[in-house]
């Protein structure tokens, strides 16, 4: 039996719109389309706060993916999507179909997908259920992404108890297309509606309304919602769309995603004031289905093409060459109505616009009872043994190398990956001889849980720094807001404030939010929300890929320079949690002006070849970033801590582990010292020359000339490189 979670008011509204009783098929259509996942009932109003315009923004929110002109005549099309709920039930297929869906969204503008990112927020790796989820999520992404030939080049991974049963699986895709080939037009009356790809079955029936309810305890019942991915068909769709776009055969492309055929045709018709006639019995099916099932099915790897009749034969030639199944199920007209027929009978007749624009709800918002946890200054934190603390942090699942994950992804297919995973702060992809695009994803559940406004701002800032570190100019971001139950004011409060923090920092940094998604109901069956998490994926323009910078130390004797002051900000830090077991305190304050200044400075240093390595400072603080640079290279360093620029710090642990924003560490070769100093002084930034890279395999930390710590690079490298495998395979 089909669930009908439309509210009484909504059914009344439907009667009002149609001026009669709705048919069963019409109810299913409204239900599929209006359910939370597809229509942002709870978020539409606030989402308008986000700045989404800019000189190079060609297409903002509204279509299946946004587009940014990254170089003259070349558009970068990128988007982020969540597949949290399916991944909790069937992690392998949930993650795999997430990849499929995001790639198809990029295809709708005619773009060629060139990179994927996975942002995974998962449970405690030592919890057996969480471990099962993690391993299968990674395998799902690996099997699907590798097969479709799009490299997974970057991501973000975080391990936290709150995600034990409900992980966050956010995936992003970046594609490129020449501006004059991009499919930015709309369907025209007379265009045929052609559905290409897999035949339709019972997969994910009403999957969207499934995503609109919290996880049930008896997972076995959720079977109707599970969708199975078919990467081979997806690859064929990529090839078909590529040829179709080259030959300019279609007016419009749409993905059949959440809400299935219903949403696709209602958005295609509704967005452009058109009508459409659909003959449902012409759709290629896998099995016998009722008309309402056909309308709501979420079978994967299906797309809609609006094809002018004169191009139809050529299109068929391409579809038959690649052996991609298809059916012509109707045509667009200018009636303003969606009319659906089944075996000669009309079963649905709805004004196109009625489906596409439901009412926005005003949700109540209230700070949670424990809101003070993020507003209380820290006091009485004992000073730990520093070496022990460093090792603990360096062994943290949130810090260690993600090698176990990214070596399962083909991150080189396509022959564009210049800066590969594990070696730079962001990925850099080559798009022609010189030019490239940098891309990175970030999130910090601890920050956004303690202080959603500042936390959101810091997540964007971290992404900004990562893009700068590899030598790019950040251009635009997309976001995913993962939150709890919007009907609970103490959950909704987090959503509202993360969004406001995002809107504020985007303005400050001049980084438009060109698209994004919202995922609600991320809680377990006991009504506990997971840590609310904002994830950001950003892109940057790289003028010359040969100048892209990686983080590993390059040359013994080079100088190590810290840009930006360190303040005593250990609230919500990795240090506070790993060493003292606390997740409290005031998180670091966002510093947009300094982010902008320091970002411009680092970019100039890179363009003028004044630095050989760059790494930004984030979780784990200054010492963690420094050690990451050493471990990645095998080279050591000697660092005089009294030379680290700081303010208000009187303890070493605060100096080493504070997560103050807007800081970078750069390596300056001996012959570039003059040039680097000149740039740093001209830009008027605070910096400190704190030490030198050494050829010895250890990092020495000194205070006023006295050696207080000697850290063996070999030992650290083993911890860093192999820990995640230990935690997930054996631990």
């Amino acid at each position: 039996m089909v669930k009908m979670p439309l509210s009484v008011e909504e059914i009344d509204e439907i009667r009002d719109i149609l001026k009669r009783e709705p048919t069963r098929e019409e109810l299913v259509m409204f239900e599929a389309h209006w359910s939370e996942h597809c229509s942002y009932k709870s978020s539409r109003r606030l989402l308008r706060l986000l700045p989404n315009k800019g000189n190079h923004v060609v297409l903002g929110p509204g279509r299946d993916a946004p587009a940014v002109e990254v170089f003259p005549g070349i558009l970068a099309v990128f988007k982020i999507e969540s597949h949290n709920h399916p991944s909790a039930v069937d992690p392998y297929n949930g993650a795999a179909t997430g990849i499929g869906g995001i790639i198809r969204d990029i295809l709708t503008l005619g773009a060629k997908p060139i990179a994927l990112l996975d942002l995974l927020y998962m449970g405690n790796p030592f919890n057996p259920h969480a471990k099962w989820l993690i391993r299968n999520i990674v395998k799902g992404i690996s099997d699907y992404g590798n097969r479709v030939g799009v490299p997974v080049v970057a991501g973000d991974t975080w391990f936290d108890e709150s995600f034990n049963k409900q992980p966050l699986v956010n995936v992003a895709c970046l594609g490129i297309v020449e501006k004059n080939k991009a499919v930015l037009s709309k369907p025209r009356p007379g265009d045929l509606v052609v559905i290409i790809g897999n035949s339709t079955g019972r997969d994910g029936l009403l999957g969207s309304s499934f995503a609109s309810a919290p996880l049930k305890d008896n997972m076995v019942e959720d079977i109707g919602a599970v969708q199975i991915g078919d990467a081979l068909m997806e690859k064929m769709l990529i090839d078909v769309v590529n040829e179709v776009v080259e030959k300019k055969l279609v007016d419009y492309i749409k993905d059949l995603g959440g809400g299935g055929l219903t949403t696709a045709i209602s958005e295609a018709a509704g967005d452009y004031d058109l009508g459409v006639e659909i003959y449902l019995d012409r759709l290629h099916l896998r099995m016998d289905l009722e008309p309402y099932e056909i309308l709501a099915s979420e079978s994967q790897e299906r797309m809609l093409l609006a094809v002018p009749r004169e191009n139809f034969n050529e299109l068929i030639g391409i579809l038959e060459k690649y052996e991609v199944p298809y059916s012509v199920i109707g045509f667009f007209n200018d009636s303003g109505f969606i009319r659906v027929y089944y075996k000669g009978r009309i079963i649905a007749e709805v004004p196109s616009k009625a489906m596409a624009r439901p009412r926005a709800l005003v949700r109540k918002s209230k700070p949670p009872e424990d809101v003070l946890k993020g507003l209380t200054p820290l006091q009485g934190i004992p000073e730990p043994d520093l070496e022990d603390a460093i090792i603990r942090i360096f062994s943290s699942p949130n810090i260690v190398s993600r090698r176990w994950i990214y070596e399962q992804y083909d991150h080189e297919v396509g022959g564009r990956t210049v800066v590969k995973p594990g070696i730079g702060d962001a990925a850099v992809l080559k798009i022609n001889d010189d030019k490239g695009i940098a891309v990175k994803g970030d999130g910090n559940p601890r920050y956004t849980w303690l202080n959603p406004f500042n936390g959101a701002a810091n997540v964007v800032s971290e992404c900004y720094r990562n893009l700068v570190s590899v030598g790019s100019t950040p251009l635009a971001i997309v976001d995913e807001l993962n939150a709890g139950n919007p009907e609970k004011p103490e959950h909704y409060w987090f959503f509202e404030n993360m969004l406001k923090g995002l809107a504020w920092i985007s303005d400050e940094l001049g980084l438009p939010v060109v698209g994004g998604k919202v995922s609600f109901y991320n809680e377990d069956s006991s009504g506990n929300q997971v840590k609310p998490t904002l994830t950001i994926v950003g892109i940057g323009r790289v003028e010359n890929v040969r100048k892209a910078k990686t983080m590993e130390f390059k040359e013994p004797g080079s100088y190590i320079v810290v840009i930006g002051e360190t303040l005593p900000e250990i609230g919500g830090s990795e240090y506070l949690y790993r060493v003292h077991g606390l997740e409290v305190g005031e998180i670091p304050v966002p510093r947009p002006r300094l982010e902008y200044m320091h970002g411009s400075t680092v970019r100039m240093l890179i363009n003028e070849d004044a630095v050989s390595s760059v790494h930004d400072v984030s979780i784990g603080g200054l010492v963690t970033s420094m050690l990451e640079m050493a471990v990645a290279s095998g080279l050591g360093a000697e660092v005089e801590l009294s030379l680290v620029p700081s303010r208000g710090i009187d303890r070493l642990d605060y100096l080493l582990f504070s997560e103050t924003q807007a800081r970078y560490i750069v390596e300056v070769p001996l012959n570039k010292v003059e040039k680097a100093r000149r740039i740093l002084d001209e830009m008027n930034v605070v910096y400190g020359v704190v030490g030198r890279v050494s050829s010895r395999s250890q990092v020495d930390l000194l205070v006023n000339g006295k050696r207080i710590l000697e850290l063996d690079i070999g030992v650290l490298r083993e911890i860093y490189a192999d820990s995640l495998e230990k935690y997930l395979e054996r631990g």
């Binding site: 479709v148 690859k235 070596e407 990956t417 890929v545």
Partner: protein, 230 residues
């Protein structure tokens, strides 16, 4: 532009474009040929690129090996047309019986993507024309079923023919391949199959620090071979 090289494409092949770029970059006239349009006589050399033909369903390369296109590749090989199989292409050549042995799941059971160091022994034939014996070539691998298996009898027979071999250097075997075999060729080297991706090891910007672009020599070799014979 020299020669006429076919880059075969099956459903699921995904390294065709960069393989094409690598060939063209080295002066070769090459194009991507959809498997059903392939006619072997039109080409001077054939490359079966990497990817997941037919999704690697059942076994990597097995479904492609039973297509008309690969039947033609076998015919072409019998007529001395040089054939190169990269990664999935190597799997197809082994399944089609053109090269000995078998390629099974990596020893540690996972897909692996990383750069490795290999050494060429007994270079012969068009694909290794410019490579000298014991030369080191760095290239990346990216596969789940790359573990080379060959039984003792077949190995003795193989070694008896003294063919070119590409071996993982000590400590660089990513998948447990027997005898450290990364690639194997027919006796005269005209048919070469290897798991590492030479097309990804051609551009300096794509080569990580500490490695060299080891794929260049393979493409330079086929260029000279088609120009001047081998």
């Amino acid at each position: 532009m020299t020669g006429n090289v076919a880059v075969l494409k099956f459903p699921g092949t995904n390294c065709d474009e960069e393989t094409l770029r690598a060939l063209r970059r080295h002066g070769l006239n090459a194009r991507i040929v959809w498997h059903r349009d392939f006619v072997w006589r039109e080409y001077d050399a054939i490359v079966i690129p990497g990817g997941f033909s037919y999704g690697d369903h059942l076994r990597a390369g097995v479904i492609a090996a039973r297509t008309r296109a690969v039947e033609q590749v076998v015919e072409a090989a019998l007529n001395e047309v040089p054939v190169l199989g990269i990664c999935n292409g190597f799997q197809v050549l082994v399944e089609a019986g053109l090269l000995p042995g078998a390629l099974i799941q990596n020893e540690h059971g996972r897909f692996t993507c990383k750069w490795v160091r290999t050494r060429v022994r007994n270079p012969k034939g068009p694909w290794l024309l410019l490579v000298s014996d014991k030369m080191v070539l760095d290239m990346p691998v990216a596969h789940a079923e790359g573990r080379y298996i060959i039984d003792e009898q077949e190995y003795v027979k193989l070694v008896g023919e003294n063919p070119p071999l590409i071996l993982y250097e000590d400590g660089w075997n990513p998948n447990g391949s027997m005898y450290s075999i990364a690639g194997v060729a027919s006796g005269n080297g005209a048919i070469l199959g290897l798991m590492p991706h030479p097309e990804r090891a051609v551009e300096p910007e794509l080569t990580p620090r500490g490695f060299n672009p080891g794929g260049k020599l393979i493409f330079e070799s086929i260029y000279f071979a088609l120009r001047n014979g081998w």
